[in-house]
C-alpha cells in the first residue's frame, strides 16, 4: 500500500484529499506512479496532465519524478507552493 495525498487544485480536480492504494508491481518511480494514476479517470487526468506544474513529496520530502516509490511510502502531489 501507498498513502497518496493531494493538495490545492490537484486535490480539487481528483476530488479527494488522498487515498490508500495498492502499488502495482510495474510502478517503480514517481513518474510511473503519475502515469498510472492519470489513467484512473477524468479527474486524475485533469489533475496530473501538466507535469511541469506538479510537485511531489515522498515521505514529506520534495522528490523528483525519477525518485523511486515503494510500498509504505507517503506520496503527496501538489502544485508549486505559494506560502509566505
Amino acid at each position: 500500500m501507498i498513502e497518496l495525498l493531494y493538495f490545492a487544485w490537484v486535490r480539487e480536480r481528483i476530488g479527494k484529499n488522498g487515498e490508500r492504494l495498492e502499488l502495482p508491481a510495474n510502478v517503480g518511480t514517481a513518474a510511473q506512479l503519475l502515469d498510472w494514476l492519470e489513467a484512473r479517470g477524468d479527474g486524475y487526468a485533469a489533475a496530473l496532465a501538466d507535469r511541469p506544474r506538479l510537485r511531489l513529496a515522498i515521505n514529506q520530502i520534495f522528490a523528483p519524478l525519477t525518485a523511486p516509490v515503494t510500498a509504505g511510502d507517503e506520496i503527496a502531489i501538489f502544485p508549486p507552493v505559494t506560502g509566505g
Binding site: 495525498l5 493538495f7 490545492a8 514529506q60 502544485p79 508549486p80 507552493v81 505559494t82 506560502g83 509566505g84
Partner: protein
C-alpha cells in the same frame, strides 16, 4: 532557540521579538518580517498546507539558516485557514549578535519558506476564486542562496 509553529490563530509579532531576547544580555539584534494579506481585488485568502511536512520543512529551513549565520534564536510562525486583507500570515524573527546576520538570515528564511514550505493560497474575489500561481521571482529570490 528555534521555534516553528503552524497555526490557524493570529500571533503577536512584538511578543515573539521580545521572547527572542528577553532575559538575555548577549543579543544585539532582532530582525523580523511580518507578511500580511494584501487586499486589492481580494475579499479573502485561504491557506491550505500539508500538516507534518510543513513543520518539518520550516524546521529544516531554520536549521539551515542556523548553519549559515551565527544566530541566537529563530521564530517562524505561519498561519493557515481563511484570512482577510490586512491580517497577518507569517512572521519570521531572528536574533543575533550581529545585525547583518540577523537581516540576511531573516531574508533567507522568507525566500526559502516561499519556495520550500508546502502552503497553497486560494484567493476569493468578486470574479470568483483562484489558486495563486507560484512566482518566478520567488524562485529567483530563493536561488540566490543556493550553494
Amino acid at each position: 532557540m528555534i521555534d516553528v509553529r503552524v497555526q490557524a490563530d493570529d500571533f503577536d509579532p512584538g511578543a515573539e521579538i521580545e521572547r527572542l531576547h528577553a532575559g538575555r544580555g548577549d543579543i544585539g539584534a532582532v530582525a523580523s518580517f511580518t507578511g500580511l494579506v494584501r487586499g486589492g481585488d481580494i475579499v479573502a485568502m485561504t491557506l491550505e498546507h500539508y500538516p507534518g511536512m510543513t513543520e518539518r520543512q520550516l524546521r529544516a529551513i531554520a536549521d539551515d539558516a542556523a548553519t549559515r549565520w551565527p544566530l541566537d534564536g529563530i521564530v517562524i510562525v505561519h498561519r493557515h485557514g481563511r484570512l482577510l486583507p490586512g491580517e497577518r500570515i507569517v512572521l519570521v524573527a531572528v536574533a543575533s549578535s550581529h545585525r547583518a546576520a540577523a537581516f540576511e538570515a531573516c531574508a533567507f528564511l522568507m525566500d526559502w519558506l516561499k519556495t520550500q514550505a508546502p502552503f497553497w493560497k486560494r484567493e476569493e474575489s468578486d470574479e470568483g476564486d483562484r489558486w495563486v500561481e507560484a512566482k518566478v521571482s520567488d524562485d529567483a529570490a530563493a536561488a540566490r542562496w543556493q550553494r
